[in-house]
């Protein structure tokens, strides 16, 4: 019952968001807010974050904190590049997975077998990942190696022999491209929807589909299978699980190795995008993936929302090259959101059927409404007056947005109860 309710609430929320976006687009004339290009970019940028986050989700649901995602992702990129240039994309995929899984294995040995503090192990892996890959590059891609002749350098691998396939939704976003046509009409709501749909269905890398599928798959595996139940029990109460005959060590090992593999897959994706390994191309996405996972309350749906938000904001940021940047429309967006909030609050205050003197109408409520109103006016004024933001303020759009959303909605996060706890077989708890 409640779950269905939540699900519907999420749908309604998404619909309201799109409506609002559409409104903002019409008002500001920034078509890029809902263009297919933006959403395509958002998808591209969200996928590696989402994959890293999924890695985090698997590990932390089994009770192992994984701050080493970044290092595992780095391993994934390097091995993907190394295998990819020799044997093609499939090999890249496999090698990247294995590379990440190797990082996961190290983490598992340290944390599960030896009971090392999870953060320490993760930090060590974040040192090791870049160290090992750089070392391997120096050895294998150095001057005079065969790879070097194929275009490798210390900081890059040769290009992958052939790139991963890209697909589009036939008719709708390809060929006749009906969605594209609809999008270019710039109608209210309809074009926005078309843009969003086309963005996520046009020229989509095969790995994106895999990555997106992994979200529901993760949900099904972790929340619908017996394996998932055991895995989550290792994160909630491993002592109970152990006492029921669950092999907690094995579960944790598996979870952490899968975690590394997913982070590695995120690396593979980055390699596919640039068609080769480039040193430093993970750009801290392991950390952002971790953040997205916490943002998403250790759940696949929330993680998807978190990485999408980040991907969307980054995409918009990177695409705002003109004089008037689409990013300024966020002022308008925020202003409208605050207006809606005020309206809801006011309605609650004047709602009939409650004796006036008993209504919880503290000073605090009024202050909040007043502050919201002031904020709305300020944001609206900013939107009207600010033509171009200093580019430095544009770069931080995704980060600021994430912080703002967290400020509004982070009260109810609940992490697995035994997350980060070192578990020893036979110990009492």
């Amino acid at each position: 019952m409640t779950r269905v309710g939540k699900y519907h609430l999420a749908l309604i929320g998404a619909a309201a968001l799109i409506l609002l976006l559409s409104l903002v687009r019409i008002m500001s004339g920034q078509d890029d807010l809902t263009s297919s290009g933006t959403f395509n970019a958002a998808l591209l940028l969200a996928v590696p974050i989402g994959l890293a986050g999924l890695g985090g989700l698997w590990a932390e649901r089994a009770g192992v904190v994984n701050i080493g995602l970044e290092g595992m992702m780095v391993l994934g990129t390097w091995f993907a590049g190394w295998a990819g240039y020799q044997w093609g994309p499939m090999a890249a995929l496999l090698a990247g997975l294995l590379g990440g899984a190797l990082g996961g294995l190290i983490h598992a040995v340290a944390t599960v077998t030896f009971g090392v503090d999870h953060i320490i192990s993760g930090v060590a892996i974040n040192l090791l990942g870049p160290g090992i890959t750089r070392f391997l590059s120096e050895v294998l891609y150095g001057e005079g190696t065969s790879a070097s002749a194929k275009g490798a350098g210390i900081t890059t691998s040769p290009a992958i022999s052939s790139s991963a396939p890209e697909v589009s939704l036939p008719v709708l976003s390809d060929g006749p491209d009906l969605l594209g046509k609809l999008e270019s009409t710039h109608w209210f709501l309809l074009s926005d929807l078309a843009g969003i749909l086309r963005g996520v269905t046009h020229d989509v890398n095969a790995l994106v589909i895999l990555a997106v599928l992994l979200l529901p798959v993760t949900y099904l595996v972790l929340w619908r299978t017996s394996f998932g139940l055991r895995l989550r029990s290792a994160g909630e109460n491993p002592w109970a699980a152990e006492s029921l005959g669950v092999n907690v060590y094995r579960i944790k090992y598996l979870a952490v190795v899968v975690s590394g593999a997913f982070a590695g897959l995120g690396g593979v994706f980055l390699v596919f995008v640039s068609n080769k390994y480039v040193e430093g191309q993970t750009q801290g996405r392991g950390f952002i993936g971790l953040a997205a996972m916490i943002f998403g309350n250790w759940r696949p749906g929330g993680l998807a929302a978190g990485s999408s938000l980040f991907g969307y904001a980054s995409g918009l940021q990177l695409r705002s090259s003109g004089e008037v940047s689409a990013v300024t429309s966020f002022f308008l967006f925020g202003s409208l959101l605050l207006l809606i909030y005020i309206a809801l609050q006011v309605r609650k205050l004047v709602a009939p059927g409650q004796p006036a003197e008993v209504v919880a109408r503290g000073v605090k409520d009024y202050t909040v409404i007043a502050a919201a109103a002031a904020g709305a006016i300020l944001l609206f004024w900013l939107w009207r007056t600010v033509e171009t933001l200093p580019s430095e303020f544009v770069y931080i759009t995704p980060h600021v947005l994430t912080l703002l959303v967290l400020l509004v909605a982070s009260q109810h996060l609940r992490m697995p109860k035994a997350d980060g706890v070192r578990f020893r077989r036979g110990d009492q708890h």
């Binding site: 930090v123 892996i125 040192l127 160290g131 750089r134 770069y395």
Partner: protein
């Protein structure tokens, strides 16, 4: 007490085994790279042939250790309370640029000028750390996410400042953007005279051995005293060991989060100062980044205790110093990072293992004492 001695010996043995293992693992890597491990390890101790290069190498080594040590302290203060301040990175960046700018706007006698700069750095670092602290206590925002995001924001913000409001004059043809040059009175005196004591040539490198080393030592002492001897330190320790118990004992967890985070940020604010006051004389776009992240490793390796952090910082700095020496010996210098990572991992693993061995030894002792146990008289 024999059991205690046993334990201490085991710990030392564990650390030694860990380092030997780390050396073995990196040797494998070095051999795989087609180089000689002996050359490689010689390179770590090879400070050059001339007296000048030796003292320069020592200076480079010590100068690297100073910011690492401060970064480790900053991270450790948070960890002591189970607060994971990944944001040291951003905090020191913002603090450095603000301190460098403020320091350049006036001239005062050296002690005052330097003190003002240090205070500004600490205040700015603390203030920047206050943001995630307030977000945590008022809205429950996880400090891991907020500080990660604030790190990115700090980069953009400092870039904006150094190119905009805080920008300084620079010579024609110089592309590095920078804050105004600090007056001479802001530069921290160096410690080169110490070399004379040991009959060594003082280092010639820019600034020599940074005098800020002394500040770091004092800071380490102060932090040790604060954490181990004061009521505040007791509260930090209690909150870290057992939050609910600390709460029940009257410690206000919100205040503690804010205090610990701000203290951590204030210390973080100082990370950039040795470089600025000892060498660069300004904050510029090539300012050393990443010390905050290294600080995490240093703090963890040093077990969040000032002495341990000092040892860890020296070890990391010692390894880092060999960057050039290794290349001269034709060994891939990335082996340094590998050694650092492996040591962090192995030292903690060794620690766990020795703990377990100690426990088992105690169990055996118990078994031996079984003979001396009085048999329980069976009634009825």
């Amino acid at each position: 007490m024999p059991a205690g001695l046993n334990r201490a010996l085991l710990t030392v043995a564990g650390a030694v085994v860990a380092i030997v293992l780390a050396i073995a693992i990196s040797s494998v890597a070095i051999i795989a790279a087609g180089a000689s491990p002996i050359d490689a390890f010689a390179a770590f101790f090879d400070f050059g042939e001339t007296a000048r290069s030796v003292s320069n190498g020592i200076a480079a080594f010590l100068n690297r250790a100073v910011p690492l040590f401060i970064a480790g302290l900053a991270v450790a203060v948070g960890f002591r309370m189970n607060l994971f301040n990944i944001g040291v990175e951003g905090q020191y960046r913002i603090a450095a640029i603000c301190a460098a700018f403020v320091g350049s706007t006036f001239t005062a006698p050296k002690p005052i000028q330097i003190a003002v700069i240090i205070v500004v750095a600490a205040v700015v670092g603390g203030a920047y750390a206050l943001i995630p602290a307030i977000m945590k206590v008022t809205r429950g925002v996880n400090e891991v996410i907020s500080t990660i995001m604030l790190n990115y924001i700090a980069i953009s913000l400092s870039s904006y400042l150094v190119r905009g409001p805080f920008t300084g004059e620079r010579a024609a043809g110089q592309l590095t953007t920078t804050t105004p040059q600090l007056p001479e009175s802001a530069m921290f005196p160096n410690l080169n005279f110490v070399f004379d004591w040991f009959g060594l040539l003082p280092p010639t490198r820019g600034g020599g051995v940074w005098g800020f080393l002394l500040v770091a030592v004092v800071l380490g002492l102060v932090i040790w005293v604060v954490l181990e001897r004061t009521r505040f330190g007791f509260n930090v320790k209690a909150s870290g060991l057992n939050g609910p118990a600390a709460f029940a004992s009257g410690v206000n967890p919100k205040k503690m989060v804010i205090a610990a985070m701000v203290l951590s940020g204030a210390i973080a604010g100082l990370i950039g100062l040795p470089e600025i006051l000892g060498d660069k004389g300004a904050f510029n776009s090539n300012f050393t980044a990443g010390l905050g992240f290294l600080g995490i490793a240093v703090a963890l390796l040093g077990r969040n205790k000032p002495v341990g952090i000092a040892i860890a910082a020296l070890l990391f700095a010692f390894l880092d110093r060999a960057q050039g020496a290794l290349q001269i010996a034709d060994v891939p210098s990335s082996v340094i990072t590998i050694i650092q990572g492996v040591i962090v991992l192995l030292v903690v693993i060794a620690n766990e293992v020795t703990n377990r061995i100690a426990l088992r030894l105690e169990e055996q002792r118990a078994a031996r004492q079984l003979g001396t146990n009085k048999p329980v008289e069976v009634a009825a």
